[in-house]
């Protein structure tokens, strides 16, 4: 079996420890290993990987394999950052007894992921502290949409209204403030319910999945080349990152090597996406504490990036650029000149914006110590991306699991321990600088050559994991193929799903007027969470 040399000792130790309880160990790729075992091994296996090898459970999902294997499968995907590898535990669940044991009490980060499996597959959770519905709201009939015998176009009875009972916090002077799902600004829908005593927030409940639109089921119903366009629509501001993560999964499954030029172009696009979103966020954080001038300058810079995106790819949000096996459009001399000009102009402009913000003491006063997410809480919740790095989480897939052309550059990852709004903004500022430098490095070494490779017919019933460090954090797409260039399952994991519960922690003790800025400093995707 051909696995990375850094992974081999871990694998040997695991095999030795669990011995015959591992039904099989399969390695489709050098950094991606699958371990098959029974349900009773899950808790022990997780604990062992977590304690001994510092593994992170990055995704947990189910797959209806009844047509081929007669069972449901649960997959627990662990990232071993130091070994640059993934170990996935696969566990069968029999249709006669459709239930599985919850890990939430030990690993709070899997709370929503487990409940989503219960909602969408009808596998009952055993021992979950709060096994209520999350993905499908309370008025949904008893349907399990991701089971194979459920038709995508099923027409469900019309909506009958809210039946969700929120938890109450009791005591003298405690009252609730409901917000959403339609918010005051131009943002996505979700419901927040604050329990407050006077001004400080005692408890925040977040109810999401309003934009659940059957994305994962749709992947199973579209030809694989159309799925790239669907992946672009998982989370609009991360369209390129999601599409690329999907392409990575399919390319790894097909075992093809993307041409060097395409890999570099992909990396530049990923950085452009990071650039426009980070700049917009820095501005939006300022506007939430009433420093509108900085916001306007940030919007102006964001618009400049979007227009360059349009010149480079035909679409301001980089849509249509990604394709299986590479990228769709090449850039000529003029386009590269436009890009170089953008970087050259943005550098002083951005520094002047940062100077403007740092010179505004009233702004900094509001950002400091607001919405603190302590490193130990962030670690328990498995918080990733910007929010993670502001709370001491030193991980970045660009550095730890180099994809696209990130193996050719050195990526500096900013990490802070404070975890407040100010530091989440600081991570963004550092990353904008880093992105500008990375784009320069990539354009300097842009190789010539083809833009994409043919994939050919995909082998049926194979699995692969695709990953990308999007601007929000790590994005995973896991696929299993069906015959005839189709997918039997595509699991999408947006970093937001992991980070939302952290908001409830970060807001505690803050006042409601600070919520917008705390929310903005996380800037999580609703659509990416809900799919």
């Amino acid at each position: 079996m051909n696995v990375l040399s850094s992974l081999q000792p871990i694998l040997n130790e695991v095999k030795q420890r669990f011995g015959e309880r591992l039904n099989a160990v399969v390695s489709p790729r050098a950094n991606e290993v699958y371990v098959h075992a029974k349900m009773d091994l899950v808790a022990g296996f997780c604990a062992h990987l977590y304690r001994k090898w510092k593994a992170r459970l990055v995704s947990l999902f189910a797959d209806d394999a009844r047509p081929s294997d007669g069972v449901f499968h649960l997959y627990y995907v662990f990232a071993l950052d130091a070994a640059h590898s993934f170990i996935t535990l696969r566990v069968p669940v029999s249709p006669e007894q459709p239930e599985f044991t919850s890990l939430t009490n030990a690993l709070p980060s899997v709370n929503w992921q487990e409940r989503e499996i219960q909602d969408l597959f009808g596998l009952k959770l055993i021992g979950h502290p709060n096994p209520r519905r999350c993905a499908l709201h309370d008025d949904w009939p008893e349907v399990y949409p991701l089971r194979k015998n459920f038709e995508l176009r099923t027409k469900l009875p019309p909506f009958e209204g809210e039946r969700h009972h929120f938890r109450t916090v009791e005591g003298e002077g405690v009252f609730q403030v409901p917000v959403g799902p339609v918010h005051a600004g131009i943002i996505e829908p979700g419901h927040f319910r604050f329990s407050v005593a006077g001004e400080p927030v005692l408890y925040l409940q977040i109810r999401l999945f309003y934009t659940h639109k059957a994305t994962e089921k749709l992947f199973e119903n579209l030809p694989v080349q159309h799925c790239v366009r669907l992946a672009e629509s998982i989370s609009g501001d991360s369209g390129f990152a999601h599409a690329t993560a999907f392409c990575h999964a399919v390319e790894r499954l097909a075992g093809v090597e993307v041409p060097p030029r395409a890999r570099v172009l992909r990396s530049i696009c990923l950085e452009l996406e990071r650039l426009y979103n980070h700049i917009a966020d820095i501005g939006a954080i300022c506007t939430d504490v009433a420093f509108v001038t900085a916001h306007m300058h940030a919007m102006r810079l964001k618009e400049r990036v979007l227009r360059v995106n349009e010149t480079l790819t035909g679409n301001r949000l980089l849509r249509g650029m990604a394709c299986l096996g590479g990228v769709r459009f090449d850039w000529d001399h003029d386009q590269l000149k436009t890009l170089a000009q953008l970087v050259a102009e943005l550098k002083p402009e951005f520094e002047s914006l940062v100077k403007l913000i740092e010179g505004s003491s009233s702004t900094l006063d509001r950002l400091e110590h607001a919405g603190v997410l302590k490193p130990e809480v962030a670690r328990d919740l498995g918080v990733v991306g910007i929010a993670g790095r502001a709370s001491g989480f030193d991980h970045d897939l660009r550095r730890d699991f180099p994809h696209a052309a990130y193996d050719q550059v050195k990526v500096h990852v900013p990490v802070y321990q404070v975890g407040d709004v100010e530091h989440r903004m600081q991570v963004r500022i550092d990353e904008v600088r880093e992105s500008l430098s990375l784009i320069e490095q990539f354009t300097a070494r842009l190789p010539n050559g083809p833009l994409s490779v043919e994939l050919g017919e995909l082998p049926a019933d194979s699995v692969a994991l695709g990953y990308v460090e999007g601007w929000r954090g790590e994005i995973f797409h896991w696929i299993r193929t069906a015959p005839g260039n189709r997918l039997a399952r595509c699991k999408v994991k947006d970093p937001s799903l992991q980070n939302w519960p952290a908001m409830s922690e970060a807001i505690l003790g803050n006042i409601i007027p600070d919520f917008p800025v705390v929310n903005k400093s996380f800037n999580l995707s609703y659509s990416g969470t809900d799919r």
Partner: protein, 295 residues
């Protein structure tokens, strides 16, 4: 304070003069696809590659009716890659008052091998069920329509307050709608403001394929608005359901839930396209012709 002033004065005015000047889009921007209907040889490759079914055809034994539905189009340009008769223009202004104005179709006589022989009926924009109405009925409807339009112009022609509702979008449309408040597009120069409450709003700007979980919230928001009110559907998803269409979790297009006054296609629509659509709804600009032009 001085630093803020210095920076603002140093930056100068960045606002576009649109609509007095044409939209500032790159020549490489992918806007509305244009079909050379007269020389279109075969609708099948484009229809096969279209991810949303925006290009479609229906065959009888001897004839084929091919159509292009801009409400569905996500402007990906895949059809232009496989079919020389299709060209992606950089035209982004394509908002329309009726869903049917976004649909163009033409009929061809069919060769046995499935390719087009010749154009039987030239490209036309479909009109709503006019065949079922008598001539006088049609005329009176048109008069009423014109009166309503004049009234809307009078009411909304000066200033407008918009409530934006994401009814299930991917957030792409929101990225561009937020851009309308930027100093570059500066929508407030038209007297248009985005407001927090539907109670203050004249227009509901809706994005996304309406999801089952949000349908009620959308209806409630609409009901909370004072009359008269306008509804604008934004993006391929808002106009038609887009790539998501109708499924167990989505109701589909916005007009499945609310009466829609203007449709703004695109994925996502460029800010110029959004401005154009909003101004069209207010009666400040006219609708571009979407019937097929032969190039």
């Amino acid at each position: 304070m001085f630093e803020i002033l210095r920076k603002s004065l140093g930056t100068g005015v960045v606002t576009t003069s649109y609509p007095a000047t044409p939209p500032e889009v790159s020549i490489r921007a992918r806007g509305r696809p244009e079909i050379d209907w007269a020389n279109w040889k075969d609708a099948r490759p484009a229809a096969t590659i279209c991810p949303t079914g925006a290009i479609d055809f229906k065959d009888t034994a001897v004839a084929r009716t091919a159509s292009l539905d801009l409400a569905r189009c996500i402007f990906c340009g895949l059809c232009a890659d496989v079919d020389k008769a299709i060209r992606m223009t950089n035209v982004c202004e394509c908002a329309a008052r009726s869903r049917n104005d976004l649909m163009t179709s033409a009929s061809y006589s069919l060769r046995p091998d499935g390719t087009h022989d010749r154009l039987v009926s030239p490209p036309t924009t479909e009109k709503t069920q006019h065949g079922q109405l008598s001539a006088s009925q049609r005329e009176s409807l048109e008069v009423i329509g014109e009166q309503i339009k004049l009234r809307a112009d009078k009411i909304f022609g000066r200033s407008l307050h918009i409530r934006e509702v994401d009814a299930g979008s991917c957030n792409g449309c929101e990225v561009e709608i937020v851009g309308l408040n930027s100093p570059v597009y500066d929508i407030e120069r038209f007297g248009i403001h985005f407001v927090a409450s539907p109670r203050h709003a004249d227009m509901l700007l809706v994005t996304g394929p309406v999801t089952r979980n949000l349908e009620l919230a959308l209806r409630k928001t609409h009901n909370a608005m004072p009359d008269p009110r306008l509804v604008v559907a934004v993006g391929a998803c808002g106009c038609s359901g887009g790539i998501f269409g109708q499924n167990y979790a989505t109701v589909g297009a916005v007009d499945a839930v609310l009466p829609v006054d203007v449709y703004i296609p695109g994925c996502p629509p460029n800010p110029h396209a959004l401005l154009h659509g909003i101004l069209l709804a207010m009666g400040r600009v006219s609708q571009p012709s979407t019937s097929g032009q032969v190039t």
